[in-house]
Structure formats: structure tokens, C-alpha cells
Symmetry: C2
Subunit: 315 residues, 2 copies
Amino acid sequence: MDISVKETARQLERAQDVVIVAHKSPDGDTLGSSFALLYALQALGKRARVECSDPFPKKYEYFLKGYQPEGFEERFVVSVDVADEKLFGPGTGHYAGKADLCIDHHQTNTDYARCRCLDYGKAATAQLMYFIFREMGAAVTPLIADCLFTGITTDTGCFRYTNVTAETHEVAARLIGLGAQAGEINRIMFETKSKSRIAVERMVMESLEYDFSGRCAMICISKDILTRSGASEDELEGVSAMPRQIEGVMAGVTLSEREDGYKVSLRTSEQIDAAEVCALLGGGGHARAAGCFISGDLNSAKAAMRQALAGFLPA
Amino acid sequence: MDISVKETARQLERAQDVVIVAHKSPDGDTLGSSFALLYALQALGKRARVECSDPFPKKYEYFLKGYQPEGFEERFVVSVDVADEKLFGPGTGHYAGKADLCIDHHQTNTDYARCRCLDYGKAATAQLMYFIFREMGAAVTPLIADCLFTGITTDTGCFRYTNVTAETHEVAARLIGLGAQAGEINRIMFETKSKSRIAVERMVMESLEYDFSGRCAMICISKDILTRSGASEDELEGVSAMPRQIEGVMAGVTLSEREDGYKVSLRTSEQIDAAEVCALLGGGGHARAAGCFISGDLNSAKAAMRQALAGFLPA
């Protein structure tokens, strides 16, 4: 059942012994929003804890503050920024079917919880959470402001993406006014790259090839690159966006090596429908970002992509 | 003489036949603020034109709208985002000593105009300009909103730098509400890299070396790299910030090849005073960013930098 921000606030006010579930492979929005909620509930004298299938990445430690989960039997389960129960992951999978409330901003939300507070006009769940707190009259401390600012800035690529609205900036202004360390958070999130990420970028860029007179750029993330760089899955975030960001490129292709072939990620400019291209190879997705799988070796994967693109790009 | 936003608005309301001077090597803030002022003055029925020593980069064309300067003899000269008359450049140098008004946000402003509206608490001149327009009661059209948003987003690295305040986000929110195409502007300014820039990054990253157990990272921009990539000077912007952005790196060194040696740019984390290090080699600068020149070949330049850094970094 879809419920309003007001009703969500009332439910949270009534809730006791709350388990907050963040999605697996946690990002800044699921963690920032979850911990903001944790601290707000604790300030109301409630018992609460955040659970997540995967460990919390170290870069968020400024708002984790040596977090130790409190032990208690849950009486209210709220999932935060989790579009689908599949995203609970193995560690929190036992809460599937038991969520009393889901707070989210994903258009793809599968409506799995008893109640759902969903607003996909918000750039981040943290942006929605701000309005829930306001309705609750919950105090936004500097620590909570840091949490919410983290969610907003990470889900918008530092206010860069087209999901940003006037309201997103308004909320950011309020959070900074309430003590969010915006400059420091942005430095941690966007100005620091791990050595293994640097190594991946270097090796991946060595694989860069242009086709169709520079309108297509292709990169390859081989298993060898992952081994040599020591990069983890979450350190690859954003790599597949790189080829499309090159001037004049209308189709950016990233080939990721798998056991029996290549996972393909295609990003396109507005002239080309990425989903249509990938459909030719049995895949699918969105108009600007889509994917497919191609069996075989690297050269045949490249050839298949070139052939699929040929009808969409001038030679 | 320093004047208030209110008095600045009154002067602009009275001004006729206005020449607006942007600084040489124009960036998004000087151009966005200058064209915003141009369009606001024209809407009041005044004659005005923007002058700049250098051509307008093509990426700003969405607010230049086929701009053709109007010919008239100037009766009021206002410089916008120009900290020093030296920054007028050769093409507008004849206005030196003739500025009636300077609107700026640089702390280093040299107070060269008859009147000065300076607020270095603003992240961009465009942020200040917004308040001047509000005082004038000038209509902020979608085109003017695009101009001002461009100034703010470029001078803050898309809201990333520490110069961003709550007010910066508030003004951004207003501008989006007034029709600024934020997503599209950010895409043009931040998501597009030229093929030659990509080539430079690739070659420069191949030169990456770590020293002092990963606490120092060094890159080299050789003349050969510039020739092979075809990159121009302004395409190198931000390259020297790259080594310091690597996790764990306290000293990021960029060696740029010159005729008789290497120009060194040093960026440091807060534990190391970059100016002190560079002073050992006859250079200077700021605490976090400094430079010097080292004669000789690449290996001796690297050795000299390592030696200078040795007293500041554990081996």
C-alpha cells in the first residue's frame, strides 16, 4: 500500500525495536538514509539497528562513528532505498516478506513491503527522508545532516545528473545550514581514487579503440585487468560511463570478460536507442543505457557489437 | 570605492551605452556573468556589448546565441569577474584605468575600478550577480538563468569545492526554478572530454610512479605527449591535480617538460606544506599547491623532487 510522507512519519513515530535494512553492495544513499533514520529513531529513545548484507565501505566511516548494532528482536522492519527484495542480499534475506515499510525513490520499486513511501521525483532517498524527518519534527543534527547530504551528493554524482531538481538544491542548502560538512564529504566521495582504481583506469584506457570515425568508443575490462589491478567490483563503478564521455562519441561500449564470453554495457547519446541496439543481441535496457551478453572471444564480441551498431551509426 | 549590491544596482540602472569586460582566457563565470548582465541591460532597453581579449570557447554557445557585438562609443565600463586589470588582456587593455565599476568575488581583487562591488564570500561572480539583479528587479529569463547557473557550476566544480555555501545551493535552486537547464549545462561542462584530452590522460597515466611507500605519486607531461596527443594548453586543466587524488597520496608531483628542464607542480595533503618543499628548490606557492623549476633531464628532476620531499615524508 502506498502511503504519504505524513503517514510514514506517524508509523515511524509509533514503531518500536526497528530494524533498518540497507541494500546489498551499499552505496551512499542507502547507507546515508539508513543511518540518518537510525540516529533520528535513537534520539526518540527507540532501539534500532541498521543491517546490510555487505560490509560498510570504509569511506563512509565519518557517519558510522564506530557503529555497533544493538541486539534485540525486531518488531518493525523498514527497508531504505531498496527497490526490490532481491537486493536485500543473503545477509538480510530472512527479512524478505517481512518489511513493514519501504522508503525509496526508485521508479522500478517492486512494491514488496506492507506499506511503501515512494517518490521517484526525488533524486535520492535521502532527499525524501529529509521531508519525513520534517513531518516527524525530528531534529536534524549535524551528524544526520552529514548522512543525508552523503545520500544526495552520491546519488546525483555531486549534483551533476539530470535527476537534480530545484528541490534537491534547496534541501542541500538546508543541510549545509544544519551543519553538513559538504566540502569534506564531496572530497571523500569524488576527489579520492584508490590505487587499484587508478590501475584499472590506466589498463582499461590502454584498450580504448575508436570505430565509425570516432563515433563509437570501445573499452574492455578483461579478467587479467581485474587480477593485475586488484580492483574490487565496487571500484569499477562509473568505468562503463567513460567511453561515452569522449567528445563526439555517440556509442560507448564496455566489454567485461566473463567465463564464457563478454557482458556488454552500451551508453549512447540521444541520437541512438541503446535498448534497440542491444535487443539485436538478445539484451535490453533503457534508451541511453542498455546491455547484453555475447558468447565467444574478445574479437568476436567486438565484431558483433560493431555489426549491431552499424545500422545506427554512419560508417 | 567599495559599494553595496544596492548601490551597484542603482548605477547599472542609470548606466547607458555599457561595455562589459570579461577576463582573458574566459571561463564559465566571467562569460556567464557578463552575458547575464548583457541580456538584463538589453531588456531594460540599453545598448550594451561584451568584450573579451580571447575568443569565446565553443562549449558556451548555448548562451551566446549568435552574439554580435553592437557598435557604439562606451559611456560606462563594467568589468565582471576580473580580479586585476592585467587580466583584461591585449584585446581590452585600452579599458584599463577606465572601469567605472567592477563586479567580482576574488579575494585578490586589486581595486582598480572607480567603484567595486566585491563579495568574496560568494562562490562565483554569478552568485553575486543574482542578488544585483534581484535588487534591480530585473527579470531573470531562462536564458539569463542558464548564464548564471553556468558561472556557479563551473566556479564550484559542479558544487564540489569548499567555496560552496548554503546560499550557493539556494541560488542554484532559484535558477533551476527560473528555467536553467542544469542537467544539460553540467553535461556539457563536466561530462565531455576531448579525444586529445583522453589521449593525454592515457599517456600521462602510463608515466605514473609511486614513491615513499605510495605516499608520493609522480606523473610527467613530456613534450612528446603533447605532440602525439595534439592537446592544447587548456586541455591540460586539472591534470596536475590527478596524482594527489589517489588514495593515500600525500604529495602529488607533475613534471612538465620545458626547453631546458622541468616545471614542477606539487599538490599536497594537509600534513605537508607544498610551499616549503618547493622553496628548497627555489620555488614557492601555497600550502596545498606550489611549484618550482628544475633544470636538467627527467631523471635528475625526479631525483631532486624526491630529495626535497624526503624530509617531509617517511621513507
